[in-house]
Amino acid sequence: MEALLHPALFRLVIQSFVGRIRRSLRLAKQPKYLFGALVGFAYFGSLLINHIPFNRGPSRGLDAAGDDLFFGIQVMAAIAMAVYLSFAWAFLPKRPSFSLREPELNLLMTGPLSRRQVLQYVVFKSIPGILLSVIVLSVFISRGSPLDKAVQGVGMFALFWLWDLHSKAKSLWRLRLDELPPWKARFRRSVMFGFLALFWVVTVLALVELGKVAYEIISQLEAFNEEALGGIVRGIRERYEESYLRYLLAPLVWLTGPYFLREGSVLSWSWLYIFGVVAAHYLWVVTSKTRFEELLLERERVRAMSGPGKRSARFLRLKENHRVKQPFKLLSQGRREVAVFFKHLVLLTRRSWLFFFLIWVAVVLFCVALQVVLGSPKGLRITMFVIGIVAITVFPSFGAMMWGNGFRKDLRYFETLRTWPLTGRQMVRGQIMAPYLQTCAAILLGIGICLGAELGVILANVLDRSMATSIIPEDLLAHAAVPSLVVMLGLIATVIPITLSVAAVSTVLEATSVLLFPGWVLASEKGRGDIASMGQKILLSVGFALFLGLGLLPGGLILAGVFTWHHFADIGFQWWELPILSLLCSVPLLIEAWLMTRLGGKLWDKMDPSQEILEGFS
């Protein structure tokens, strides 16, 4: 009897899931983990409480739109699914879409189990995760009565499981091609691509027809209102139901059936269809003849050798001539922390400084050229300005949290780092230099885009008298009474000190938070998805934002002080004061960054992460 999972493997699946939950509970014995878990639950709870009132009846938006629109959305979902599946099948990666860890491989490959039983384990292993996702999502997106929700939950589970089975089946199908004789593999591939091509030719033709119908209806409209919209949708639906597209998309439309049940129509015959498709996929996977074992073993070997990081594959693709490149020549003499800086910089790039300077120049020139060629349209000016401003404002505050290097990433090398002959301060400096540099580069890119946009405006005006207006606010230009380029340079001189100081504070703060809560950061880096970890992530983010706000306060106070003084002394504010003010506000921020570096150094020196860190990676 091999139709279902072997009892011992079933037990293994359940025990693995229970083990994860137990581990989370054990961690909660430590106060900070418990606190994190409570915050996580509170976060989830508040979301649920806020959400439940909206779930007490059918979806208002969909019901108001009427049956036809409801049906239209279902068809659109089916088309979206067809697009996704077509791409997924056209670009099948040559790797299994599932993995087994080394202990699982050792147990399953050497145990008295048939291939079918191993594949059944692969299939059933995903189920606890799917179930958990369905339970959470059901609460959020299902609607109607509790019975409706339950039915939709089952439908969602069937659909998710089908998705999972389908991804496994198609990856096994792809791998099987490599095992077949070439002519047979070519034939199968041709059939698959032929089917896709035929499907899309026919579908596109039918969609064009529907488009024509829609156009005809719209062109006869006198006014566009709710009634007109209903008419368009009804017309399209009637045409759809007459066309062969209805039959072409039916298999996919039926799959989404459980999501689009109307109130009072809990049971639908599409259930039978869905369960039939799930059963067929199940058999497809578990009866596969593909030899996936070696690939999984190889993948596990590479993973074990390169550690938990998934990025190693990126480095392995580097050719030898790129591997010898370095962002700068690391001499063996000089400040020791530069070695840590170098290490983090190589993680980002092996290109030289000159390369990035040239990129910056190219961006500026591109912005100028685009403005000139297109005659500096307002939309383009605003777009460039917004992109530049976003870079200038977002990266200084949150850049350090976005980058993939720094202390956060180095925690798993903790045992090596601690043996290095560096003081705590040197270590912190080394750790923050690369992310800080990245943030600075992002800020300079934002400045470059704004500068390029302004230069483009000026050049466009000179060349073809476009009469385009500057990206600098008109009031400021009028007040300054100097050419806009001079004001732009003044603004750049203002932006640079303050943004670089804010970036310094946020980068050091990020490093300090890692040193204060290494266990939380580690859990987050390991991708642990339990609720305690989520709570810890929230706490870290909120704490970071709060302390960053506090950290920026001294600069803000200086700014407020200067403005107040100008106001009460009745002194007019001159635009050239901005760079000076920026420098003035930067001073306390830089002092803060320096003090926090010292604090971080002390934390590093005194840190005893015996259990949280070292056992976390063992």
Binding site: S312, S332, Q333, E415, T419, W420, D605, D608
Partner: protein
């Protein structure tokens, strides 16, 4: 010289290292052996500065690890049992980073010599994922020797090595000691310890239960034969405590 005096380290209520003292003179190789959970790894982690001890004094090459950690660590090379290399650094990058950290003069020439000696020259541009476990272990040894340390700590140095590499490793350990390096070798491979170590310390439940040359510690256990090997000594020294 490596000196550990009255080292104590606890994890919660569990005392992993309990008032442990050891001293390794320049040119001496100390074999550190003990059953699983005896406190070897904790001792080595404290010694290399990975975790701070609860109390006790650790000195490396005359520098206190707590008072002058940079000087102490500059003279030490620690080779852990699991080679920890950075995913994104080639062998050569890694050696250059180590050279900068330890301020190694003429680092490139020295790195090339060591890579040659350990048959890693053709792997200098390889990433860790492209190295076998034995190669990684050898690279860690190369990095450890790069700055000519005054003290070396090796945790299970032969794990994953083929017979040729094992021989090379043993020769390296002996040669380093001959140059005056104080060495601690922790291993469960008692034949290795017996073969290369001048002195052996058996630790059990966080304490040193026997310390001295093999003959000396054997004579401390009169119930053993005169020709009893380290394995018998080890079993006898630790069985009474269980």
């Amino acid at each position: 010289m490596i000196s550990i005096q009255n080292l104590i380290k606890s994890y919660g209520d569990f005392r992993a290292v309990d008032d442990l003292s050891l001293r390794v003179e320049p040119g001496e190789i100390l074999g550190l052996v003990g059953p699983n959970g005896a406190g070897k790894t904790t001792t080595l982690r404290c010694l290399s500065g990975v975790i701070p001890p609860d109390s006790g004094v650790i000195e490396i090459a005359g520098h206190s690890l707590s008072d002058n950690p940079v000087a102490a660590k500059s003279g030490l090379a620690y080779v852990p049992d699991e080679p920890q290399l950075f995913d994104h650094l080639t062998s050569w990058d890694y050696l250059m980073v180590v050279a900068r950290l330890y301020q190694v003069p003429d680092a490139e020439r020295r790195a090339e010599e060591l890579l040659e000696k350990f048959d890693l020259t053709n792997r200098r541009l390889a990433f860790p994922a492209e190295l076998s476990r034995g190669m990684k272990q050898k690279l860690m040894i190369v990095a450890a020797l790069l700055h000519e340390p005054k003290a070396m700590v090796l945790d299970e140095p032969l794990t994953g090595l083929d017979p040729r590499a094992m021989r090379q490793m043993k020769d390296t350990v002996v040669a380093a000691a001959e140059r005056g390096v104080s060495m601690i070798v922790s291993s469960h491979m008692l034949r290795l310890v017996e073969e290369v170590c001048h002195r052996i310390a058996i630790i059990h439940q966080g304490r040193v239960v026997l310390d001295g040359a093999l003959d000396t510690i054997r004579s401390g256990l009169p119930e053993l034969d005169e020709d009893a090997d380290l394995e018998e000594v080890f079993l006898r020294a630790t069985e009474d405590k269980n």
